[in-house]
């Protein structure tokens, strides 16, 4: 049995190495100067320019208009990620609540309509969505960035399955206890769904944080740039004999990775609970 254990650990270590090595390389490289990186390529050693690089990245006002800093981009990404995650959870929970607990005509039909939207990701409907937002004059707003992506078939499906697994007697007990539909939702369903909400929050936050295509399309104002777009922006300066600020690009990449990683680490326990067991 002991040998098996060692073997297990080797596999795990290998996995960890493959996952973490690129991140370490990116981090180490980001501490070198741009010229060094251009000459020597990626680096596994400490370059000693950690503070300068990260300070520049976070505070230097860049872009064409010069009014966006790394910190602002981080804030924008955060707004996008949080808005996404929270909005999707609220919307899909309410949709699932209606589908599971209220008898209305064609409920199953509507569920399948929602479900088939899984086949229509943003990339497929990007032009009509843009047209709608443009007509509503919502380009270059947070509303325009977030709202069109809020409807979530995945979330609705998850919550629907979860609500279906909640025993009917709980609803009946609540009804006899004098809780109306609203009270039942807030007092019973929401607390019961906490682990589910955490799980979906992580997925959706990372999804929102990593959005690239939609923000690129929706926002031309640099004040709305997200981190992911910022990285691209730095590498765009490769015109003539300019050396791109590789170090800053790497630093931004590292910064862009941090919040999702932190969220996963913080919510990890709930995440696993939410996807594997129901807390009843």
């Amino acid at each position: 049995m002991y040998r098996t254990k060692i073997f297990d650990h080797i596999i795990l270590l290998l996995g960890v190495f493959i996952m973490v090595a690129p991140v370490v390389v990116a981090f180490m490289t980001s501490t070198h100067e741009a010229a060094d990186i251009h000459r020597n390529g990626l680096s596994l050693t400490w370059g000693g320019h950690f503070v300068e690089t990260y300070q520049t990245v976070l505070t230097r006002e860049g872009g064409f208009t010069g009014k966006i800093t790394g910190f602002n981009m981080m804030l924008n990404s955060m707004i996008l990620g949080l808005g996404f995650a929270v909005g999707k959870i609220v919307l899909s929970m309410l949709a699932a609540y209606a589908l599971v607990y209220f008898r209305f005509p064609l409920a199953t039909f509507f569920f399948w309509v929602i479900f088939t939207t899984l086949l229509l990701p943003l990339e497929v409907r990007i032009l009509p969505s843009y047209e709608v937002m443009n007509t509503l004059k919502l380009t270059n707003t947070y509303t325009g960035l977030i709202v069109p992506l809020l409807a979530s078939a995945t979330g609705t499906f998850y919550f629907r399955q979860f609500f279906k697994s909640v025993p009917d007697e709980l609803l009946e007990a609540a009804r006899i206890d004098g809780a109306g539909p609203f009270k039942f939702f807030i007092d019973v369903l929401v607390p019961l769904s906490r682990t589910m909400m955490a799980a979906i929050f992580i997925i959706m936050f990372v999804y929102g944080w990593n959005q690239y295509l939609w923000p690129t399309l929706m926002t031309t104002d640099e004040g709305f740039f997200t981190l992911v777009r910022g990285i691209k922006q730095i590498l765009l300066v490769w015109v003539g004999s300019n050396i791109p600020d590789y170090n800053e690009a790497f630093a931004l990449a590292i910064l862009a990775m941090l919040p999702p990683v932190m969220i996963v680490v913080i919510f990890q326990r709930w995440f696993i609970k939410g996807l594997t067991e129901s807390d009843k």
């Binding site: 609540a174 809780a179 019961l192």
Partner: protein, 370 residues
């Protein structure tokens, strides 16, 4: 506390499936009524209609002087105990008990007092701050009952509350429910499929079959005078033996055996004869008897159930464990212990006025027809 009337209540589901067929029960104030029947007999549906969890298709339910057909469950002044407890898993025991009162805007001090009182009564005080998942099945059941008690409702509704407990706990909880109900004096409607639970708890029990009432009566009345073969075979353990017989010229003929009924036969022709396992006795020496061919024996400790046949018809006899068993048995039964049912309708046949319950027990005369 209030009297409850269920008047000609029916439940018709989609596709004209009638789950409950025109059931009427008058429940007195403070009475403990048990609805008993096999699964699918409509007992739970009936209870849920009283609770307001199912709509009433026909008929009326009245609690106190109020017709509650269209009243919201929360406004019906009832409390319900569920089979799987249905406690709110994320709330502490205290919050579970207080939730219904809180929703009714009861003052905090009053809630505290009532929860404390219920907790003391049910001996769940040490667990008030725990979550339901940290409690055992019996404790959860107590909490579920506590949730009903704190509301001080006009009626308690129990939906098979003991089915999820193990056998031993079930017996002790049964006693506790009975004691509690007597003490609170609250009208109660209790659903179970367990005839023993029904017998021990009920002031009156209602035997349901296929959505209809087979019999309403006090437990012992139902036991001693079952209204139909269904009730006879459902109430009592072991079930009443039902054998085919024929009445001819005032005598009952079971296979080759003739039993004199003393001119008090209910009808003529074929009948179903009911014999309780404990009414069949071993015949003494020289007594007329029927030959009982032993098939197998179940030892229960306090008694011994002997399964076998008389004239090819299966019967069960309850004997004391001291009785020596050796091969086949000669058994006899007192005439006034015989029950007669119509072979067509299964309804009980009375044996006429001259054969009251207070008639002296006559020794049965058996003759072997040859």
């Amino acid at each position: 506390m209030a009297a409850t009337t269920i008047a000609e209540v029916s439940k018709i589901y989609h596709g004209n499936v009638e789950a409950v067929k025109s059931v009427s029960i008058d429940i007195e104030d403070g009475e403990f009524i048990v609805l008993v029947g096999p699964s699918g007999c409509g007992k739970s549906t009936l209870l849920r209609m009283v609770a307001g969890l199912e709509t009433i298709s026909k008929g009326t339910v009245t609690i106190g002087s109020r017709v509650i057909n269209e009243v919201d469950p929360a406004e019906r002044d009832i409390a319900m105990v569920f089979q799987n407890y249905a406690l709110y898993p994320h709330m502490t025991v205290y919050e579970n008990l207080a939730y219904g009162l809180k929703n009714r805007k009861t003052p905090k001090a009053e809630i505290d007092a009532r929860v404390a009182e219920a907790a003391r009564m049910l001996e769940i005080e040490p667990y008030l701050q725990r979550k339901p998942r940290a409690l055992s099945g019996g404790q959860r059941q107590r909490v579920a009952m506590g949730r009903a008690i704190v509301r001080k409702p006009a009626a308690f509704l129990f939906d098979e509350p003991l089915s999820n407990l193990d056998a031993k706990l079930r017996v002790s909880m049964r006693g506790e429910i009975k004691r509690l109900q007597k003490r609170l004096g609250t009208t109660s409607l209790y659903v179970t499929h367990d005839q023993l639970e029904a017998m021990t708890l009920a002031d009156r029990l209602v035997v349901l079959n296929g959505g209809r009432i087979e019999q309403i009566g006090r437990p012992l009345d139902v036991y001693h005078r079952p209204a139909s073969t269904f009730v006879a075979s459902f109430i009592g353990s072991p079930a009443m033996n039902l054998v085919k017989g024929e009445i001819e010229g005032g005598n009952l003929q079971i296979g080759l055996y003739r039993i004199e009924l003393g001119g008090r036969a209910p009808v003529k022709g074929p009948v179903t004869v009911g014999l309780r396992a404990e009414d069949l006795k071993l015949a003494g020496v020289g007594e007329d008897a029927m030959l009982f061919q032993v098939d197998y024996v179940e030892e229960l400790g306090a008694q011994r159930l002997v399964h076998g046949t008389i004239e090819g018809q299966a019967l069960t006899i309850a004997l004391s464990p001291e009785t020596p068993l050796s091969g086949d048995l000669a058994v006899t039964i007192a005439v006034d212990r015989l029950h007669f049912f119509s072979t067509e309708t299964g309804k009980r046949l009375e044996r006429g006025t001259s054969f009251g319950n207070d008639a002296p027990v006559e020794a049965l005369r058996l003759e072997t027809a040859s």
